[in-house]
Amino acid sequence: MTKIEKWTVLAILIIIALIPVYGSRFFVFLFTDILIFGLFALSLNLLLGYTGLVSFGHAAYFGIGAYTCALLIKKAGIDFMLSLLAAGLFGAVGALLIGFFCVRLTKIYFAMLTLAFSQIIWAIAFKWNALTGGDNGIMGIDFPPYLDSKVKFFYFVLVVFTTSLIILRTIVNSPFGRVLVAIRENPARTEFIGINVKRFQLLAFIISGFFASVSGGLFCMFNHSVFPSFCNWSMSAEVLIMALLGGIYNFFGPVIGAGLLLYLRMESTSFTAYWPLILGTILCLLLFFFPGGIAGFVQDRFQKWRAAK
């Protein structure tokens, strides 16, 4: 990471951390949402941008995390932080079981198998009324006593987000992360130099599942409830769009994408009921005019500006 980048990220994190001081309650709410989805999008991007695997069922792990957290709190009375950790581990185990089959396939078939598995998770959440509450979901999940306000919860999310950000950043910059990029660029050649591609892909899948589940657990507490729609395929599509909007070939891109999308959605709901129309139009503009996402566009401009100087 260059020095400029490091200081920019630190400055942005400090600005975000100070939101409760100068910002309204609306901004605290919005940024809690953004940090949670930012983490979700980051976890997806470990597969998408770094390993070159298009997962079309990432909502499965988000859903597993949310439901694990909700069930442990509501049915077993376990503390929120422990439940959150358990949610992450459950997600990782789920990702191990599902990923074991998925990494055997490539490209479009990989995407479809991830989609099929996530639809099963969704069907379980939707149909197993006794456990998951079916269509009604699970409601009334309250803040634990030590996080009894929206501001406290915001700081908790910020801490989890920053920790995850550092861990993920370390992972992608480690030799392991470099191997993932090599796999993205050319799986066959990576295999030839003696790397077990499938095993690395599976590991990336598990790590990604872990963080997606953690974000799901946070979202369950943020919402005070869980619903089957958390693991529906439209959720998978939404997080995919977030990552692409921000730019998948930049580490922070997905967070920017999550931020922009959630902000636009909140703004748009105040004047129109046609959010999908707006989202679709944004997506079209993105695909036709900014294929590298926002971060890709900015990076490109920055490099051109530098070259010109």
Partner: protein
Amino acid sequence: MSYDLPFITIQILTGLTNAMFIFLIASGLSVIFGVQGIINFAHGSFYMLGAYMTHQCVSLFIHSPHRFWAAVVLAPVVVALFGGLIERFLLRRLYGREELTQLLFTYALVLILGDVIRIFWGIEQFSVSRPPVLKGAVEIFGQFFPKYNIFILIMGPCVAFLFWFFMLRTRWGRMIRAAAQDRETLNALGVNVNRLFTVVFILGTWLAALGGALVAPATSIKPGMDIDVIITAFVVVVIGGLGSFWGTFLGSIIVGIVYSLGILVFPRLSIVFIYVIMILVLIIRPWGLLGRPLTLER
């Protein structure tokens, strides 16, 4: 509920009727994937548009006794031409880009078309009345089965046969199959592949819209029917084999039957069965039951 033979027969016939609807939609999805390599999420939206257009045409010709037939002919053509415009002016610009880009474009279409339909027709439900000839039911083993479903049971294989004939016995069909195999060589042989792609997209869209038109009298036309159908069609195409014509037919029948019989045995889990079949197929034979494995990198 009794599980006697007549009841099961009716249930299987209902499953087959659904299979025919699914087939109409899935076959279009399959041919577009087979030739253009695009997973067209918007396919369900064209189906929904077909149903709404049918409703619109029926209310336009409200005084004619043949209004339903007029709508079934007219609505899919209008939707297909609309699909052709989208392919020609938008989708074409994305060829050569990553698969994900094309896939997300069709997803953007789902979002946009879903809302455009909401803007035009609102969120109320519509129903189209059956044509007079096909009203009522016939008795099979003492159970009643709607005449309209019998019509669909005949229509499905007819369309399948015509489609098969078109693909295997006509010049256009031959070119389409050639484009699925190797579009560059076909281009070098002097065939306008771009135009061919537009034709394939129009054909696929027409099949989806025809499915929408024919389903209109059998269901209520409402927002969200696009999402319901696209996932099912997708599962069918994967089970049968992406791009495989008879595979799609087989996949439709499997899904239709499993769904209608599954509901009897495990009412809550019948939807899970279908996904389980899809997963098993993907794990054991990723190219589908009747598809061929992709050996050449394209």
